[in-house]
């Protein structure tokens, strides 16, 4: 069995959580909440902490990685059926990451490049990493986080140019509570991508200490997403942020540090690219690993080839244009994520608790019964 260090798992969880919101959350929250988008991130602290607790509870009270733990707690039949659904849910995240980056790249950098060629170039390194094994992928992700994450944050800070106006975040009050609820729902749905910890956590050296790392990841996610949401608002205002395709990219385009550092969007792309590789590789691994668990296969790696083709083609087939992509990101994926990655694991908590309670009762009855 492959082994991950806690720091590797931390890095994996961080890219899983932070990459997609870094690219699109500013626009989506500006569309819902205008200048109050950052409040939705603060509002998602409680749901996020709850999710961290749920995942940690499931991890510490299960002997098999997800989705095997479904069979462990819900029985083999129901467990396999739900596990089968999860294979496609994880696969959908793979497709989403591919499409999102392809659109990010083709909208801004090389609009003339065929999407098929670009998809091949994104899939190929992840394919290689997965065939090589989880440990190699984890090591690459570790390096990526240590180098790309600080740079990504630095590029955001560069966006705070002379035209930055912090008063664009005002007024603080006067927002629609329903819109805030919608924003919190949206942010929480992307926090639920931390569900991969249920699959990867058991590979860790010290699963009992995972809560610390999960909290640290959540904190880093809050920080980076807050920055990614606030900086476009103070630089462009809520209206422009909501109509730009990728506000973060516009930040990089407009960056001009002391009339010396500018035209740095290609650096932005080169920072996002390894991030996309990471989230792609992680969810692709979880997809194949879930299939291995559900179908009882000997090795997940045999599925990497067929799923590579499926992912590449699905990215073109399922998402015909960028307008549709944003509908998916804002309205369809959050439902899927919340139901499958948040509500269903939350439902398992009382199931496990009752099972443990029953086991404790039967144990105590056995102890209390007089020996024959």
């Amino acid at each position: 069995m492959a082994r991950l260090t806690n720091i590797q798992l931390f890095c994996i969880l961080l890219v899983t959580l932070a990459v997609t919101p870094y690219q699109v959350m500013a626009k989506m929250l500006a569309m819902i909440l205008a200048q109050h988008g950052w409040m939705a991130i603060l509002g998602s602290v409680l749901p996020g902490l709850l999710l961290v607790w749920i995942y940690y509870y499931l991890l510490t009270n299960s002997s098999r990685p997800f989705p095997g733990m479904l069979e462990e707690h819900l029985g083999p039949v129901l467990g396999k059926i739900i596990g089968f659904v999860y294979i496609w849910a994880f696969f959908l995240v793979v497709v989403m990451s591919l499409v999102l980056f392809a659109n990010f790249f083709l909208s801004n950098v090389l609009p003339g490049m065929p999407i098929s060629i670009l998809l091949i170039f994104i899939i190929l390194p992840a394919f290689y990493a997965l065939r090589t094994g989880l440990e190699a992928t984890a090591r690459v992700v570790e390096l990526i986080v240590l180098t790309a994450y600080p740079l990504a944050m630095l590029l955001l800070l560069f966006g705070l140019g002379p035209e930055t106006d912090w008063s664009r975040l005002l007024p603080l009050g006067h927002f629609d509570m329903a819109a805030l609820g919608n924003g919190v729902w949206l942010v929480s749905s992307y926090i639920s991508l931390m569900v991969v910890v249920l699959t990867l956590g058991p590979f860790c050296h010290q699963p009992r200490l995972l809560w610390r790392w999960m909290l640290a990841v959540f904190g880093m996610f809050l920080f980076s997403t807050l920055a990614a949401v606030i900086i476009p608002i103070v630089a462009y205002g809520p209206v422009l942020t909501s109509i730009q395709t990728f506000p973060i990219f516009n930040i990089a385009r407009a960056t001009d540090v002391a009339n010396f550092i500018h035209n740095i969007e290609i650096i932005m792309v080169s920072v996002v690219m390894p991030g996309v590789f990471s989230i792609l590789a992680i969810f692709w691994f979880v997809t194949c690993y879930s299939a291995q668990q559900v179908f009882g296969l000997q090795d997940y790696r045999i599925l990497v080839g067929p799923t590579a083709i499926m992912a590449g083609v699905s990215a073109v087939l399922l998402v015909p244009n960028i307008h549709f992509l944003y509908i998916m990101l804002q309205q369809i994926f959050p439902w899927i994520f919340i139901i499958l990655f948040a509500i269903l694991p939350a439902f398992m908590v009382p199931v496990i608790w009752l099972k443990l309670r029953r086991r404790q009762d039967s144990d105590s009855k056995k102890k209390a019964a007089p020996p024959k």
Binding site: A291, I302, G305, T307, I309, V313, L317
Partner: protein, 67 residues
């Protein structure tokens, strides 16, 4: 051209994966692999030859967009 390249790729993947599975007599693994590979080929054909394809996400998006 693209179709030929695609099938060359499929043949290569099969050549890499299948012999080991057969040698170890992992028939269930082979069956799952076959189903996934057929699904991949079908999706590719849908894309290459514009076969009809039901996209449930597109339907959901249409419903959400309609008033």
């Amino acid at each position: 051209m693209f179709t030929a390249l695609f099938f060359l790729l499929v043949a290569l993947l099969v050549a890499i994966d299948v012999p080991d599975l057969r040698r170890q007599k992992l028939n269930k693994d082979l069956a799952v692999y076959t189903i996934f590979m057929l699904a991949a080929i079908y999706l590719a054909m849908v894309q290459f030859y514009h076969w009809p394809f039901f996209n449930p996400l597109l339907m959901a998006a249409m419903r959400m967009q309609s008033p």
